[in-house]
Amino acid sequence: MTSDRIEDFERSAHAHETSTVRTVADEFEQALSAAVVPPAVGASFPLDGISVSMDITTEPSPEQIREAQTGVTPAGLGIAEYGTIAIQSRTAGDEPISLYPERHVAVLCASDIVPRMSDAVEWLETEIDAGHDSVVFATGPSATGDMGALVRGVHGPKEVHIIVVTDR
């Protein structure tokens, strides 16, 4: 993993109205608490050696998801070319958690950043073979121009923030 690729990813993400921050596993919790606006709901983190002690409701009820200010989920992949992240459909509820709250905080391992869309589609094919067959490639906050001007935050989040864990 070159830092160039992280930089490319960050540049593209910023161009799509997404904020990013870099951290290492040891300092992850600080980065997370700085990014979260409570109340927060979250899907479990499949990251080695990372525990989260702050107040994020995992296994939330539908109402908690609706009322949360922030939804925290892992990202399965990042695409440097577009600043896109892949949110996988898991039983932990990544999809609604990333969609309903106004703020989405995604956790992305630097080693999961690929350069281009073509790499992401290759990854997708292997994921489908492994039975993980539903995923969303999300780029920036949700948006619409249907009301006469560009507005962010339509059915999905108004703000997207990505925490890039550089030593994972």
């Binding site: 799509h16 296994e59 939330p60 009820s61 539908p62 109402e63 998801i65 609706r66 577009y82 896109t84 459909s89 898991r90 039983t91 932990a92 509820g93 990544d94 999809e95 609604p96 969609l99 309903y100 869309m117 073509s118 589609v121 290759e122 997708l124 094919e125 489908i128 993980h132 067959d133 539903s134 995923v135 969303v136 490639f137 999300a138 780029t139 920036g140 906050p141 949700s142 948006a143 619409t144 121009g145 249907d146 009301m147 006469g148 001007a149 560009l150 507005v151 935050g153 339509v154 059915h155 999905g156 989040p157």
Partner: protein, 726 residues
């Protein structure tokens, strides 16, 4: 209804739309279009991605029956159901059975518009909500979409605010786009949480895994599909591709083409039933297991499998519904899909869709609005030759029509068999008119532009009396050329055939003479053979057989010249586009290729001569010039040669960037389209209002449009640069 009455009604409808929807449509489509040019310009793999996308679609449509079988197996194995609906009614009934009187949230789907699903579901007592904000606006306003991608883009913010304030009566009146969006998000958010069933379309379906791809910016497709425990997806069979791996070029292209975004906000891949837990807001238990999810895929034929067997309509099935053809179309930019569209689909590609799924009658209602300007051609991400589909359908409409003024215009071959609209014959046979007009000039010119003649032409053939008709020269270009003894210069560097198109030969002979002088002064021996009209005139009226006969005649005449290694130089861009593009459909491949390779647009040729050492000092110089290229010339990427030659000669060039002048051949002469043509022309006029120096235009129709709108003398670029003292 008589022809006169039909024309009057069409003109009235167009005028109304220009006044009510024109402004919003133009603002939005032009914005998308500008962005599209910018984003594709910056995307290195644009052409490569288009080539791949095209190949994947060709292959998928070729193997469609196998893909249908495959997806049935895959979805069934995943635990879902698949239904193949023969037609719209079949699809409607099936979905109505699945839904019953449930509460439904839908994401945007043109296919459900095609089968008029909402009305049917409501009959059963189902509560149906459109969650795409544009579709929601239309649902509230009880209107139909006017654009494939932006269904409500004909409505302004003010109109939407007024609509919402009247319908929902909020405590504080809604005003800004943000307030309107927040309100709709909140309102529809509740509908989504309550809903029993989510209905979506599908942009693509991978046959081997049963994976659906949905493209949105709002996030409503995902929310609608995964919040309720039942998901129904409705899609045309042509949405199938072999596997997810085939989707990559489409992921790259679809938003670039549609709205000029480099990537959509959400590219959703769902292989239902999905693993996402269901959200039951009523019980409010923690997230539930996803085991009780249900999924139904409804694949619709509704004419598509027949389109697959139709050599002309087949390409329509490659369409990915991005709307790029609409956005790049000057006519669409001004009136939108409520004029330029049928029962469901709108814009350039709509003729193919409507002819295929609705029938020729529906397609005939708006087919004329494609002027064949070809600006959509390079914008189509799957390289569909949209103008050709429109021409082919026009040809079928011609064959199906009948007309009372047959006797007025004779001489078309072989399309004259049958009963083709007299006006089409008039415009399609302009060469004969020009011959007679020239032979009898100037009397013919006095007569043609006399008030009684114009009134008669308007009444019988619908030629708008406000238009000036071409003024024919008594001495044709070829007569002049023969009289001066042809071309004879010392030490020629090349030999060229100057193609005497009808306008250059009979009407604008000055530009022909300027071309001869320029070519000779740059060391080129010129030939002007007796050669037929290119076939452009009949082709634009959908008279394909006649166009083919003309093309064959042109190729035969030019054959010996090409054998001798002569270049073919063409002044009129629409004729040049025939040689380059359209002849591919009209001539044997070898003949077309030879002519394509050996022919040049006038200023492209001059540019080439100068680049290869010809002396530019013989040409005329100047300071400022306003230049309007021709739409077909721009599609071929040729306007840069004219600009470069002018710049080389010291000119400062202002080039127009409107898609088309609005005249587009015979279009602007037609009574029912006069207002639209002038409205489009006005954009061009406003670009040139404040420029210094003469105005030049490459195409005859552009020149006529500019002269009628601005009343300056407009010339072809070759007349400006031709040597003064030759």
């Amino acid at each position: 209804m008589s022809d006169v009455e039909t024309r009057r009604r069409t003109a009235e409808q167009i005028r109304t739309l220009l006044e009510t929807e024109g402004e919003s449509v133009q603002k939005n489509t032009s914005h998308f279009n500008r962005q599209q040019y910018e984003v594709t310009e910056n995307f290195d793999q644009y052409e490569e991605a288009r080539t791949r996308a095209r190949a994947i679609k060709e292959d998928a449509i070729e193997h469609l029956p196998e893909l249908i079988e495959q997806v049935e197996d895959a979805v069934t194995a995943n635990g879902g159901s698949v239904y193949i609906a023969e037609d719209a009614a079949d699809a409607r009934e099936h979905v109505a059975d699945l839904v019953g009187d449930a509460t439904v949230v839908k994401s945007k789907s043109m296919t459900t518009e095609e089968i008029e699903l909402n009305e049917r579901l409501s009959q059963n007592g189902a509560d149906v909500w459109e969650t795409d904000l544009g579709e929601f606006v239309l649902q509230v306003a009880d209107e139909t979409p006017s654009h494939i991608v932006g269904p409500s883009l004909h409505k302004s913010r003010d109109e939407i605010a007024q609509l919402f304030n009247t319908r929902f009566d909020p405590e504080e009146p809604l005003q800004t786009a943000e307030e309107l969006t927040d309100f709709a998000r909140e309102y529809l958010g509740e509908r989504i949480c309550e809903a029993d069933i989510g209905i979506t379309g599908a942009n693509f379906i991978a046959a081997d895994s049963g994976t659906l791809a949905l493209v949105t910016n709002e996030g409503n497709a995902r929310k609608s599909a995964v919040t309720p425990d039942t998901h129904v997806a409705v899609a045309g069979v042509e949405k199938l591709v072999p596997s997810v791996g085939d989707l990559e070029p489409f992921f790259e292209l679809i938003s670039k083409a549609a709205t000029g975004q480099d990537i959509p906000q959400y590219l959703t891949l769902l292989t239902p039933p999905v693993g996402t837990p269901t959200l039951d807001f009523e019980t409010n238990d923690t997230l539930e297991s996803s085991n009780d999810r249900a999924f139904h895929l409804v694949l619709i034929d509704n004419g598509r499998l027949s389109m697959r067997d139709d050599p002309e309509l087949k390409e329509t099935l490659y369409c990915i519904r991005c709307g790029a053809c609409s956005n790049s179309c000057a006519n669409f930019q001004h009136v939108g899909g409520h004029a330029f569209g049928g029962e469901t689909y709108s814009g350039g590609i709509a003729t193919g869709w409507e002819a295929g799924v609705e029938g020729l009658d529906t397609a005939a209602e708006f087919n004329d609005l494609c002027t064949g300007c070809s600006r959509c051609v390079n914008n189509c991400p799957v390289k569909i030759d949209i103008p050709w589909i429109n021409t082919a359908v026009r040809d079928r409409i011609n064959q199906a029509g009948d007309d009372q003024f047959d006797w007025l215009v004779e001489g078309l071959t072989p399309d004259e068999e049958g009963s083709i609209d007299a006006r089409k014959r008039l415009f399609g046979n302009f060469e004969m008119l020009a011959k007679i007009g020239s032979a009898t000039a100037p009397v013919s010119n006095w007569l043609m532009n006399a008030r009684p003649t114009k009134a008669l032409l308007e009444r019988t053939l619908g030629v708008d009396r406000r238009r000036s008709l071409p003024s024919f020269e008594r001495e044709t270009l070829r007569d002049w050329f023969d009289a001066r003894g042809g071309s004879d210069i010392a030490d020629p560097r090349r030999e060229a055939v100057l193609y005497p198109d009808v306008y250059t030969n009979y009407v604008h002979t000055d530009r022909g003479k300027a071309a001869v002088r320029t070519l000779e002064s740059l060391g080129v021996v010129v030939h002007i053979p007796a050669v037929s009209e290119s076939g452009r005139a009949p082709l634009s009226q959908g008279l394909i057989s006649t166009a083919r006969a003309r093309a064959t005649s042109v190729a035969d005449t030019l054959d010996s010249h090409l054998d001798q290694g002569r270049d073919v130089v063409v002044i009129e861009p629409s004729d040049f586009a025939m040689f380059q593009r359209d002849y591919e459909r009209l001539l044997p491949a070898k003949e077309h290729e030879r002519l394509r390779e050996q022919s040049y647009e006038m200023l492209e040729y001059v540019y080439g001569l100068l680049a290869n050492g010809a002396d530019k000092d013989v040409l005329s110089r100047g300071e400022h010039i306003a230049y309007h290229s021709h739409c077909q010339q721009r599609t071929l990427g040729l306007e840069t040669y004219t600009e470069a030659v002018f710049e080389d000669l010291g000119y400062e060039v202002v080039t127009s960037d409107v898609e088309c002048c609005g005249m587009a051949g015979s279009f602007g002469y037609k009574q029912e389209y006069y207002d639209l043509s002038v409205d489009i022309g006005d954009d061009l006029r406003s670009e040139f209002t404040d420029v210094d120096g003469p105005i030049v235009a490459s195409g005859t129709s552009c020149l006529e449009q500019l002269e009628s709108l601005m009343s300056p003398r407009v010339q072809h670029p070759i007349e400006i640069i031709a040597p003064d003292n030759y």
